[in-house]
């Protein structure tokens, strides 16, 4: 497995871990009724506002740990720049991410115009935000393995 593949693999695992753990933590610490409330959306607002910095900081820490462990295990330094192959893979993966998120965004509007509970809008937005990032990473991993 190349350095890039290992880095993306670690990123996929860390995304899954961070999102799952944070979601469990947020749900367990939520005030009763705040998740399903149709008038008070503070839970969803704080969920997103806290998730972003938490995931950024956690990913940075995990990346640093990965670089150190990889260096100790293989004595290999990661590339210090991105070349055309990296950029084309990133662009293709970003496009997939964007399509998935756009689909989720449209879908999240459905509860607002139907009788479905409003919190489903936030649930869908968060879920598809996570899914789009995850699928983008998986696509990157696939493109590094199979080519573009």
């Amino acid at each position: 497995m190349s350095y890039q593949e290992k880095k993306i693999f670690v990123s996929i695992i860390s995304s899954l871990l961070i999102f799952t753990l944070y979601t469990f933590y947020a749900i367990q610490n939520a005030e009763e009724g705040s998740i399903t409330s149709d008038t008070d959306f503070r839970f969803w607002g704080s969920f997103l506002l806290v998730l972003l910095p938490v995931s950024i900081v956690a990913k940075v820490i995990i990346h640093i740990v990965f670089v150190i462990i990889n260096k100790m295990a293989t004595n290999e330094d990661g590339p210090s720049f991105e070349d055309e192959f990296d950029k084309i893979i990133e662009l293709k993966a970003d496009r997939i991410s964007l399509y998935v998120f756009f689909f989720g965004f449209i879908l999240s509007m459905v509860p607002l115009v139907t009788d479905l509970p409003t919190y489903l809008t936030f649930l869908l937005l968060i879920f598809f935000g996570f899914l789009s990032d995850l699928l983008g990473r998986i696509a990157q991993f696939y493109f590094y393995r199979k080519g573009v």
């Binding site: 350095y3 590339p79 070349d83 990296d86 080519g147 573009v148």
Partner: protein, 72 residues
């Protein structure tokens, strides 16, 4: 995807040039080793600019390194 249409002799040329490693070729062409691996396997067709840079590393013309197979 750029598979199959463009083939190359990079692997052979590396061995003819003092058994040059993929990393050495990558450094000389200004790309990462992963990119050289993908090109050698036929998983990635490089840009024209990169193809020229790789050909120049071996002191060859671009057509001595890369071949385009017209499948029509």
């Amino acid at each position: 995807m750029g598979k199959d249409a463009i083939s190359n002799h990079i692997r052979n040329l590396r061995f003819q040039h003092n058994e040059m490693t993929q990393q050495q070729l990558a450094d000389k062409a200004g790309v990462t080793r992963q990119t050289i691996v993908a090109i050698e396997k036929g998983n990635y067709s490089p840009s024209l600019e990169l193809a020229f840079r790789i050909a120049r590393v071996f002191g060859k013309s671009i057509e001595e390194v890369f071949q385009y197979e017209d499948k029509q």
